[in-house]
Symmetry: C2
Subunit: 202 residues, 2 copies
Amino acid sequence: MWRRKNTLPHFFAMPRVKLFDEKEVLTKAMNLFWKQGYSATSIQDLVNYLGINRASLYDTFGDKEKLFKKSFELYRKQSIDKICQFFESHPNVKEGFSELFKEAILDKDRKGCFAVNNTTELIPNDESCLKILSGNKLDFENLFYEYLKKGQMAGQLKECKDLQALASFLFIIYNGILVVSKIQTNKKELTNSIDLALSLLA
Amino acid sequence: MWRRKNTLPHFFAMPRVKLFDEKEVLTKAMNLFWKQGYSATSIQDLVNYLGINRASLYDTFGDKEKLFKKSFELYRKQSIDKICQFFESHPNVKEGFSELFKEAILDKDRKGCFAVNNTTELIPNDESCLKILSGNKLDFENLFYEYLKKGQMAGQLKECKDLQALASFLFIIYNGILVVSKIQTNKKELTNSIDLALSLLA
DNA sequence: TCGTAAACGGAACAATCGTTCTGTTATTAT
DNA sequence: ATAATAACAGAACGATTGTTCCGTTTACGA
């Protein structure tokens, strides 16, 4: 069997390159889905906001659902990277969580958290998203757990706590903050609640 | 100017009565919006699920947004009534919150909380919903506060706490539980977190 | 320079969106 | 019985949905 490679003289040819940066466009898509949610964001919205052609959108990202999944994938990577760096640059556990939560309440444009928004919008109507969000929960709780453990070994936690339970608790608090911050932008009240929650650590 | 009333003999006439119970249908609409969210629920979905005609839907409830608002209004009334009764039938504060939260984690069909779902879906894209949800937050925090106060006066809280901060904290916890319950139905882990949070009360 | 193939712009697709309209049916005071 | 009128069933509306297709443009290896 002969291969096509041999039969055609100019088989390999390079087409024109993309006129847009794929990751840059994906970041834009992420931000629009984040703000509007999956269902409320139309392809036309995306075409307008991303500034690329419909055909380019479909050629590059597949369909709407695929683009959404890729957007959320990017968000997950970014937020996990951010948390890791955040913990590394905050050696004290209690201070670290305090700063993390207090940063979360500065939600000027009320977008909340893309993961939390997806949880409430897409569960229980999208099975595949449940898997992703379950994984996301585990990732966060594990990060929280390791951070707590490091703090415990450094003697930052007074008593011997159930770190697993503490990690779950902190994840719940984090989710709660990310919901309530969309309603309430009064920093003072939320700060008090955070201090109250973190009094369980020391 | 003569009035039409005088020119026609039988001006007042009663039409046929509704073949469906308005509140019953509204409850159904509430449940569908609750499960699917506002954007993901089409009029056709509603017509199928409610079992009434399109025209009847529009005649009775106005348009989609009005039906949604009425659905959520019904939900708010029901949940506030439920909380009031719940607190009245649970004289001990800590036990009351414990039971309330532990009831929330039994979310078999993963619908979550209609109010939380609406918060993440509709803010910041619907200004009128922000007002409603702000009011809802205040209502809940006030209910929590009064309940805490009653418990404090009954000597159920050891120290003299900042009850306002405690109420806000419990509202955040409640929201967090109502999000995470959609992902995690493992009761044990969530129960531990609830116990941890409520250790701040006694 | 030339041919290839992907990116591009934009029209076009069927399906569905929320909403309105048109008759018909059914009820009740007269 | 009759007239009036709202509820009913269902077709129809234009607009928008997500997606595909077509023809052109453009970059790059040969």
